[in-house]
């Protein structure tokens, strides 16, 4: 049986942390029933200080909620370091 998957997107200086096989700043990652936002950040050893803008399906997840926010099959988790522009 194949594992459920979600889409991981890493941008800007976090692009270097994309897993092998990633294309266009995104990759499919396997998830289980207990996978959380914080769990993905930890598993990929993303530097905590650079995980500033963390969006699950486009919605911001504050640092205090990342440990308890589950990732469901088909979700999109996108992460940026601090960004500015305009």
């Amino acid at each position: 049986m194949s594992m459920a998957t979600a889409t991981l997107k890493l941008f800007s200086q976090l692009s270097d942390y994309l897993p092998p096989g990633a294309d266009q700043n995104q990759a499919l990652i396997e998830i289980g029933p207990s996978t959380t936002v914080d769990g993905v950040i930890t598993a990929l050893a993303l530097p905590a200080g650079k995980c500033h803008l963390v969006l699950l399906n486009g919605v911001f997840i504050p640092p205090s909620e990342r440990i308890a926010t589950p990732i469901r099959p088909g979700d999109a988790l996108a992460i940026w370091p601090p960004v500015g522009g305009g």
Partner: protein, 616 residues
């Protein structure tokens, strides 16, 4: 000190040039640049004047920190009554021109009247004179810049100029200095053209005096360290530029797409900062060559790009193969997502053309997007376009129109009307995505609610640079707020608008505000300028400026009815993303905003507010 204390008044009708003393009381009340020049404009012209008539004036103005060694202190603004909007216009630019003007010993230049034949204004320190611009009339920005440098045998001459677009009344013509920095919005270039003023060319070597040099140097060093310690201003902006936002804003569902029909663009990644840095399959080189800084800037967010030499746009045009000003976020959005075009090289070429011919890429791209929707509806046909197939996603149409609009030729003349007049001309005024006649920038108010209020109340028409609540609602600067709610947004918008007016009047770049607040600006101003400058006082100055601009617009004929958004954004909900099902909640926010401002329900500053701000 820090102000030079004098400015030039140039009467183009009479051909006279005079030096005048700066009004020091107004400098205390309005600081400089945007604020101070707005005060002069409001005092000197009838707000109901035709913007393209000789009775309008156009002011090139610096701030007190311009030309000093404070970080980013190279800014200048162009203040006039804008032809695109009928509102007060203030367009801010970087590059080297502003610092050069200040170093020539002038706080600003006021141009009035209209020259009988094309002229340019040449300033070399104390010597300032009008000169014949006939040889440069009809020339591009790049030709004029090179021509003036050659004529004066001075490669360090700093030139701010218009192209054929400004000469021929393109309503979003801008003024480009240093080849690819622009006083971009509201059609200030068309005002210059209406006065037969082709260019301002400046050389200054006098330096800028500050009140307390030792304290100033110490303060500047401390505040540069703040920028160096901030992840956005020290790493994010120099490495990725403003274009880092393309994927961010798409992900949050606020990237206006195909004339705001959608809020997400499936081609966003292909036109983003990340794409600009990747080697091309064709030649192995990246679109982005390097970053670049304006005068005195320690951030260096500018993009320098080189187009694929084999791309259709330049394969037979070697004159465009050099590196030049590349895509910033707002331009990439307007030329790209707004029109549905995802060809990065075509967007870069269109951006080069906007710089070369001095047209605002935001208004240009947004107007092309409106024209594409009109074309797909059948309201515009190939007969009007001269055979251009104007469908969404057509890079060929986009680049052809950039050239035609820049040269004010063919269907480019219709595009040069701007979105509001174009949509009215072809019978669909509701399809114009504008406020007060100015096209939106790159944030959909359905996905970032505060920006809807910011656009609706902006004193120069739809604009992101008058109150950039995106910083809070998306980026978390200075605090994170929820982009999908209207609660608290009235106060947030007011706070951003007032602080921004103070930044814009100091001579520094608003991008410092990703790391600085007015608490960081005040000690630099206080060490440089006569008087006492605290953060609290600067906020008061900002609020005063906002109300002065509002008073001008009300006197020009604007009313609360103009503080609104297009029906599409108020009635049609976002179809995808986090904002799916939401329209703009402007109706909820606007009354609260008026109350926060101390304005009546009709959007008019009360007598008490005017008295509090020393405006009555």
């Amino acid at each position: 000190m820090s102000w030079t204390g004098k400015f030039l008044r140039v009467n183009l009708t009479e051909g006279t040039v005079k030096s005048e003393a700066l009004n020091r009381e107004w400098a205390r009340l309005y600081l400089g640049q945007r604020g101070l020049a707005s005060k002069y404009l409001a005092e000197e012209i009838d707000p109901r004047v035709d913007p393209l008539s000789p009775d309008n004036k156009i002011i090139f103005t610096t701030g007190p920190l311009t030309g000093t060694n404070a970080s980013t202190a190279g800014r200048y603004s162009v203040v006039t009554k804008g032809p695109l909007t009928g509102c007060i216009a203030c367009s801010n630019s970087g590059g080297m021109f502003g610092a050069e003007l200040k170093n020539a010993g002038w706080d600003m230049i006021i141009f009035e009247g209209r020259a009988a034949k094309p002229v340019y204004f040449h300033v070399e320190n104390d010597r300032a004179e009008l000169r014949d611009a006939q040889p440069f009339w009809g020339k591009t920005v790049w030709e004029t810049d090179a021509g003036l440098k050659a004529h004066h045998q001075d490669p360090m001459l700093r030139v701010a100029t218009i192209g054929a677009s400004g000469e021929n009344g393109v309503l979003f013509a801008c003024i480009v200095n240093d080849l690819h920095r622009a006083a971009g919005r509201s059609g200030v270039g068309a005002v210059m053209g209406s006065k037969n003023l082709k260019a301002v060319a400046v050389r200054g070597s006098k330096g800028v005096r500050v009140k307390d040099p030792v304290r100033f140097l110490k303060s500047v060093a401390e505040q540069k360290q703040v920028l160096a310690d901030n992840a956005v201003t020290s790493q994010g902006l120099p490495t990725y530029g403003t274009q880092v936002l393309m994927n961010v804003i798409n992900e949050v569902g606020a990237l206006p797409t195909r004339n705001f029909q959608d809020v997400q663009f499936d081609g966003a990644r292909r036109i983003s900062a990340e794409a600009m840095r990747e080697p091309r399959r064709s030649d192995g080189k990246a679109n982005l060559v390097t970053n670049a800084a304006c005068f005195g800037c320690t951030i260096a967010c500018g993009r320098i790009s080189q187009i694929d030499p084999g791309h259709y746009t330049i394969v037979n045009r070697p004159e465009y193969r050099h590196a030049s000003g590349g895509l910033e976020y707002e331009a990439a959005w307007a030329l790209g997502a707004a029109t549905g075009v995802d060809d990065l090289e075509a967007l870069t070429f269109a951006n080069f053309l906007c710089n070369e011919h001095a047209i605002d890429p935001i208004s240009f791209g947004a107007t092309v997007a409106a024209a594409m929707e009109l074309y797909e509806l059948g309201a515009i046909t190939s007969k009007e376009t001269g055979g251009i197939i104007l469908t969404f996603g057509s890079a060929e149409a986009l680049t052809a129109l950039a050239e035609l609009t820049g040269k004010a030729q063919g269907f480019g003349r219709d595009i040069g009307l701007g979105s509001k007049r174009l949509c009215a001309k072809y019978g669909h005024p509701d399809l114009s995505m504008t406020v007060k006649g100015q096209e939106f920038p790159a944030y959909d108010p359905r996905g970032i609610q505060g920006m809807g209020l910011s656009y609706a109340t902006s004193n120069r028409g739809a604009c992101h640079l008058r109150g950039y609540t995106v910083a809070s609602e998306i980026m978390g600067t200075p605090v994170k707020t929820d982009p999908l709610v209207t609660d608290g947004k009235a106060a947030l918008v007011k706070a951003f608008q007032d602080a921004t007016a103070a930044f814009d009047s100091a001579g520094i770049c608003i991008f410092t505000s990703f790391a600085w607040t007015l608490e960081n600006v005040a000690p630099q101003l206080d060490a440089a300028c006569e008087g006492e400058w605290t953060a609290d006082y600067l906020l008061e100055v900002g609020e005063r400026i906002w109300n002065l601009e509002r008073q001008f617009n009300l006197a020009a004929g604007m009313t609360a009815k103009d503080d609104t958004l297009p029906k599409r954004l108020l009635k049609e909900a976002a179809k995808t993303g986090p904002a799916k099902g939401l329209a703009s909640g402007l109706a909820t926010m606007l009354p609260e905003y008026y109350a926060q401002r101390g304005w009546s329900a009709a959007g008019v500053p009360t007598a008490e507010t005017l008295k509090r701000l020393a405006l009555a």
